[in-house]
Structure formats: C-alpha cells, structure tokens
Point group: C2
Chain length 345, copies 2
C-alpha cells in the first residue's frame, strides 16, 4: 500500500489524537489571543496549508466576526517592505514549519509586537521560534508528498481555535464527534471511488464549491493534480459565469462540493448551467436533490453542521485523487518529481 | 475590427482621460480616507476587478504599509454573518457596479460606519449608492465581454490612490508618464503577437509571476482563457514546486512575467526548473537575461518603475489572447457565451 493511502486511512486516528492532546489547552488559551486589540487575522501559508487558511477565512468571519487577510510573503522577503500589522493576530499554518517566506511573516509580526500562533506538524522547526504559541497537529510523520492527514488536522485546528476563541463549548463538542464521522467517510469514499474510473482518461476537470467549502474545492483540485497529474481547477460557483467557465468542456468531470447548509441552494442552481455546458457532474453531498442530479453521486457518510463539513467533504476528493492516480500509474508517494517542502524566499 | 481589439487599442487614450479627470481630486481627497482609524483595506471585487485587487494587495502593502484583505461576499449574502469591520477602509472595484455580492460588502461597511470607496466605470450603478466616494474609471463604454481598458484604468486608479494616500507627488508624476508608455506597448505588443502562432494549437498553458505582477499573471491567464478558450492558469513562481507544477507539460507554453525589479532574480532562477520540465518559455520582460533565456521574447517597450510595470506587462498578454483567439476562430466579443456582468448573490 502506498504511503498516501496509508495516511489517508490514518486520518480518523490522527484527528482523534490531535483533539485529545490539544482540546483542553486550546480551550484555555485561545481567549487571551484576541485581548491585544485584535481587529483581524493575518494568515501565512502555502500549498495545502493555504487551503486550510481559506477555510479559516470563512470560519473566523462567520463565527468570530473576524476578517481574515492572507499575507503576501514576497512583501516581507523580496520587497523588504512589510505592512504595519497593528490590529493583527498573525497565524502561520505550515505542516513542515520550514517555508522561509511563511517564517518571515511570523518573525515580522513578532518584531512588531503582535500576537502569533504557529499551527504545524513539526514542533522543532524554524517557524516555532517565532511563535508565542505553537499549536501542534499531532498528525504523525507524513511521508507522502501529497498532504492528507496534515490537511485534515490543520482544518480541525482552525475549527477548534475558532470555537475556543468564541468560548463555545457546544461547537467544541461537535468537533469531538468528528473522528467517528471521518472514519465512516474514509470507508465509504474508498469503497465508492471505482465509480470514477470512467474519468481516468480525462484531460482536465473542475471542482466547484462556495463559502466554507471553497477550501475543499481548492484542496481536492490540488490533490487530484498532484497525484494523478490531471489538471483540475477549483472555482467558486459564483465565478462560473466569469471567464473560468471556459474550462468546462463537454464531457469533462465537474466535482461539485455541496453539503447541506447555507450554500447548497446556490450551488444547486448552478447545476443547470453546468449541464448546459455538457459537463459530467460528480456530486459530493448529503443533499438528495443534488445527488440525484449528478452523473456520479459520492454521498457523505453523515450530515454534520455545515461549518464542520469540510472535514468530511475533502475525503471523497482524496479518494478520487488516489483512484485516478492508481489507474494512470506513476509514483503515488512522490508524483511528478514534486518535493514535500518548498524553500522559497 | 472586433470590439475587444478596438478597446485594447483605446487603452492609452482611456488612461490619459482617467488621469486628467481624476488626478487632482484623488490627490486632494485620498489622505482623509485613512483618518478614521484605518488599520487595513478590505477589497470586494470579482473577475478582472479581482485581479486589480491583487495588484492593490501588494501596492498598498509595500508603499502604504497597509495590509489588504479580500472580502468573502458569501459571508454577507448566503451566510448572513458579516465580520466586524473595525479598522477597515472598504474598497469595491467593479467595472459595472452591479454585482450584488460586491454591493453587499460596501453596504455592510457603510452600515458599520466604515469609510467606503467605489472604483467603477458606471457612476450610476447600485454600487455607488453605498460609497462615500465614487472614483470613476472614465474608460468609456466597454462592449467586449473581455475587460481590457477597464482593467488598465482600475489598476491605474489603485496606483493613483496609493500614491495620493502617501502624499507622494513623485509617484503621481510617474503615473502621469504612463499613457505614453502604454501607447508604445500596445503598438509593440500587437506587432509582436504573430510570434505566438506556434501555440495556437496548445491545449493548455501557464502564466507565472511574483509580487506586484501576480495580478498580471491572473489577468493574462483569464484573458487567454476567456478569448481563446485555451485553459491557461496563473501561478506564483514561489508555488511552482507545490502541486501546480504538474500542469507544466512538455511543450506547453509558460508565460513568464518578469519586469526588472525586486522579483526578477527570483523568477530568473525558476527558468531552469521550467526548462527541466520541457516548458516552452515566453518572456514578458525588459531584462535581457530573461529575454535571452526564452523561446519567445516579448520585450517591454519601456523600463518603468516596477510598481507601475503591471500597466505595461498585461498588454503583451492581452495581445497574445487576441491573437490566439483570432487564430482559433470564435466570437471575440462574446466568447463561449460568457456574459459581461454576473449577478451572483
């Protein structure tokens, strides 16, 4: 079995471990983070961690009323012109903790006296030297280039931080129920992935979502692209009528991420336009109408609160990426010569 | 002649008109914008205007020390959970001023008592009812679906606002010199575009940049995709070693946007990796070493300060999109059934 499949299957255990070890500490420490005149969050990240940051953007906005800005690392490195960070709580998300440009953002925030948090899987990394608080992911060593369990634990860390900042024990309890749901989802998704075999020869595809699951769309597209080499692209369904729709060629798969909740009606409406373009629709959903309207239905194993749905919806996408990559051959653990850690300045 | 070509050619005139009509007003009014405890900018936009917002993110960061957050319109519409905007200056960029979700962000900022600016080509639009200050683009009516002159004037408006906020008359004078440079660039780029004919059959491509010209990479990729239907994708050269590099198939064109300045060395270094992947390199640059290393050189007509280079670098991309679309046939002014204004909530 490839490392990526092993790590995909480890996700329920890795998630439970993270929650067991960090829940109480996060609940106790989070409220103090926003005491120092915090008006917004500044998040530094790249790759899959950048997709976790997209989840944070919607979650902290909706549940903590905090706007989220993404850092522009080159301002800190190439341009040597960092912005003034008054009002910012700086958060870095990096599984390796090694990306120099992500490190430089946290270092600058520290220099300016702003509170800093590092969410990372490596507690002894350059990043952690610049953080007031290191929130470890406890995902265990991840060997495959394609992140699975570190992504899942990163979004769980974001969810826990958001609930703890708000002092909301009901939401923390809902997170505690997720390892079981993730376990059911992993089994279901691995079992369902052969229904995607018809797309093994596809030369492109699209993943569509909105709101909190835009992160999922980006992460699934990245996963399919990394593992299988098929150029999948993520889009907000709200942008479909701008230029991006030109990518929807007849017969190409469109993965639609549509868990029940505030965005499902908006996404359901866009199904008609996707059909008109001749797209082949793959639905990741627990909404019966969406699933019935799809060419391939990838049902969610459980219905969970929409804000937690990204912990489930990414899994059918991971399983799809694994399946398509297996059918197309290649090295699953080190696809296309990619490296796990990038050392960009 | 198609409308899009006519409008591409109109850009020097449209830019000069915008500067003539707005320069003095912007210089006088901008400083007051940040008087009300502004810690960061919140920008709402979609499509090409969203690419202008990317330019703003780097420009205001580097020259005004102001971090920039992009709004998440669905929080204001679908989720009905807008963030608290304390410390924000809210800016909407929308050529039509009609996108309901962009309007909703400005309306909410007004409701929360925050300063608001609308940068738009339509002074009588829903957007302008929610703005303290309407900054008109004066681009003239744009008939083609693919934005050209409204994009150029949008980034000019961002440049002018940044210089005026800083009270920097030297930078304002540099902007005033741009219509001539844009005119030279339009001529040069239209003349050079037949060198791209070898890519008319391409089934994909990539546009790479970093920093201020990341906006350009996004806009060129969108333009080529909209007009020609060829799926081009934008990437930061810093992300090339993450999953996206899988899109670099041998023989596919990679447009490299590399004006001289703080990012050119970083991009020059990535040329080797692009070569290893067998990419065919098209360079938009005024750097001799970058141009010599390319398979197709698209030289810039002038060397301008790097912060203003996006007003030139986009033009070879617009001309490339026009050329590729012409060679592949189709309706240049209404490609692939796209509509100019999207009315997403």
């Amino acid at each position: 079995m490839s490392w990526v499949e092993r790590e995909l299957r480890e996700q329920p255990t890795a998630l439970a471990r993270f929650l067991d070890r960090e829940r109480d500490d996060v609940r106790a420490r989070a409220p103090a983070l926003v005491e120092r005149d915090v008006r917004y969050l500044l998040i530094a990240s790249r790759g899959s961690s950048g997709n976790a940051a997209r989840y944070a953007q919607y979650l902290f906005g909706a549940f903590n009323q905090l706007p989220v800005a993404f850092s522009t690392p080159s301002l800190y490195t190439l341009y040597d012109a960092p912005p003034k960070l008054d009002g910012a709580l700086a958060i870095a998300i990096s599984q390796s903790g090694e990306s120099p440009d992500v490190v430089s953002v946290l270092a600058e925030a520290t220099r300016q006296g702003r509170p800093t948090v590092a969410i990372t899987n490596e507690c002894e990394s350059p990043l952690t030297r610049h953080a007031d608080w290191v929130l470890p992911l406890h995902a265990g060593h991840e060997r495959a280039v394609a992140a699975t369990k570190t992504y899942l634990n990163s979004i769980a860390a974001v969810a826990l931080l958001s609930a703890a900042l708000a002092g909301d024990d009901t939401r923390i309890a809902a997170i505690d129920a997720m390892p079981d749901a993730v376990e059911a989802q992993v089994e279901r998704s691995l079992a369902a992935s052969p229904t995607l075999d018809r797309y093994a020869g596809a030369d492109g595809g699209v993943v569509v979502a909105r709101g909190l699951n835009l992160a999922t769309a980006f992460e699934i597209a990245l996963k399919i692209r990394e593992l299988s080499g098929i150029p999948f692209e993520p889009f907000s369904s709200a942008d479909l009528l701008h230029g991006p729709i030109a990518a929807l060629l007849p017969g190409r798969p469109v993965l639609v991420v549509a868990p029940s909740g505030p965005t499902v009606a908006s996404i359901r409406e866009s199904l008609g336009k996707l059909r008109e373009r001749g797209a082949s629709i793959v639905a990741i959903s627990d909404d019966e109408r969406v699933l019935r309207a799809a060419d391939v239905a990838l049902p969610l194993a459980r219905t969970v609160p929409e804000w937690l749905s990204p912990l489930l919806t990414v899994i059918p996408g991971q399983a799809a990426a694994l399946r398509l990559a297996t059918l197309r051959g290649g090295d699953l653990d080190r696809p296309a010569g990619l490296t796990k850690v990038t050392l960009t300045r």
